[in-house]
Symmetry: C2
Subunit: 385 residues, 2 copies
Amino acid sequence: MSDILSIKDRTAIVGIGETKFAKHLEPSEKELACIAIKSALDDAGIHPSEVNALSSYTMESTEEVEIARNLGMGNITFFSQIHYGGGAGCGCVLHVAMAVATGQADVGVAWRSRKRGSGARPWATVGARLHDNWKYTRPYGLVRPVDEISLLTRRYMHEYGATREHLCNVAMAVRKHANNNPNAIMYERTLSRDEYMSARWISEPLCLFDNCLETDGALACVIVRADRAKDTLQKPVYLHAASQGFGPQHQTMTNYHCEDPLLGPSWATSARLWSLSDIKPADIKVAQLYDAFSPLIPLSLEGYGFCERGEGAAFTENGAIEIGGRLPVNTSGGGMSEAYVHGFNLINEGVRQMRGTSTNQVTGADSCLVTSGEGVPTGALILRT
Amino acid sequence: MSDILSIKDRTAIVGIGETKFAKHLEPSEKELACIAIKSALDDAGIHPSEVNALSSYTMESTEEVEIARNLGMGNITFFSQIHYGGGAGCGCVLHVAMAVATGQADVGVAWRSRKRGSGARPWATVGARLHDNWKYTRPYGLVRPVDEISLLTRRYMHEYGATREHLCNVAMAVRKHANNNPNAIMYERTLSRDEYMSARWISEPLCLFDNCLETDGALACVIVRADRAKDTLQKPVYLHAASQGFGPQHQTMTNYHCEDPLLGPSWATSARLWSLSDIKPADIKVAQLYDAFSPLIPLSLEGYGFCERGEGAAFTENGAIEIGGRLPVNTSGGGMSEAYVHGFNLINEGVRQMRGTSTNQVTGADSCLVTSGEGVPTGALILRT
């Protein structure tokens, strides 16, 4: 291992930007992407002409040359895309950080722009043929991501005694956080346990409030080397460690045929992540965990080592994932109550927590775990002050 | 710049693999991909279970989980894709090298599998709408990549006096190399200047022999850190430097509206590449230059600094790009005479030259430039012994 060039703490996020979030926004995905990126660069005090690394999702509709041309960038010397929808976000930050740390580029941008009316919902399309693993599940009614996760949730409930009360803990925690975030779709819109329990099924045992929002919006962040970070406008937020990951025999969200379906991609990501990190789960005081669906939070608490296997559901009891609890989670409201932009809002909220500027600031938090989609191949970041 | 963790010489390509090349192969793209990757791992003496980094083209039809599951890989901790078709190949090697050098992964694979009957020819499809820059060119007859490059070629001829004689020099040089490569589609199939000059137009001024082949096939290579490379079966081929790149105001191959259309993406790539390299153009004795179309070779000779602007055409005279000349180019036959698999065969031939195992071995070559598609956002590698 002596030959490794560790990028630990060698880069920092120095700018974040985002558009408004709403069920419908007028600008195109391309315009929203440019607005978010320009906003992130302004936040950092860096001109677009200095950007030379770009990373986004394969599902992103605006390609690199369009971003660069519309924003007036110069020579671009690194570009990457990451597959698997909501699994991509943290990996995009990692890719840019690697490029910047190793001198392949100097200023990098990661971003995601998404409109719910766009083509970025592949399950809503019908192909001439079902390919790969989809042919084993689509004909049997597993059509939407929520159908796939509902099966996984049943297995989790069966194996470990998780209940809807636990899922409600998650939904209410992130809603409370959103209630105090003026940028959140669910700002000031409260959720009671009764409302949760009487909500309609989306895919039993997952009800309306176990699902993320449907949001138009875009977000971006700017990454530079640590030495350059000292000269930007904001307090630098260092990337301490990061990893991507998925495990053996993985399919995607229909991962029911491997030896243990409850060992999702977070476990592979987590193993590498902590091996690269001086900060350990016990040190982390705030986390942004990908929450397209509520059960992903207890599964991620297990995968990333905040509790033992099977204990993630119980972890959510007694306000442990709310402000003031052991590990406040998704302090902006996350995908379920702030905005669902394929998880990128979790990255920006992680940065705000490290800057001390969250509307739900966790006192004394000096590191933050951010994760991307569990169920699909994923990624995670450890940010620190 | 002192804060940069240079990956120079920190990684090596230790395995290469490829399928047969033919106009039609029976196996699917997925099967071909797995065959090529397994072959590359066998070449290195590394078991698939050790692979934990994967990179390929966004146009690749087989996604990461399918590759990993079908080959029996373990935890994957890095994955990336690169856009822009033939512009991707060298970048994939760079991405994996960055991941391996920085300890995000340990053993990485880059690959490309392609069948000409597949969907990997986006210009052959008709969309409901023309988006982005395509709407300015498609309605006027610029439909295929060859149409786009033919306009660029006319401009090149007009500006610098390049002629069809020069393009014929390119076509005949790579054909001669293929004639001596038993794996090449054009093995033993010669090409005369008369045949070239009397061939049919594909898109004037580009004739049949200015175009790459149409090939089914797949290739892969395996990358590890330099310390591990000493323990593998083959002579390690070190990645000395690499870059991706495209310049300001770039479109794609229809890049006619920027200030100087003849300053393609190779110029942006080249600037970063040589700044990271101790090896300079004058030191390079063999090159594998992306050749979907013959004029890309003189343009690349200029872009990568082997001659001044406008001198690339004349550079091809007197056998300079053939074995025995100043800079033998595409010594396997390249995309025009060995196989066209989006340029990945150029990477594997670069490795063979550094191993000393090419069927057209360049005596004394201790470094090799490999480039990806010019015209589209691209990438380049400097390999060394």
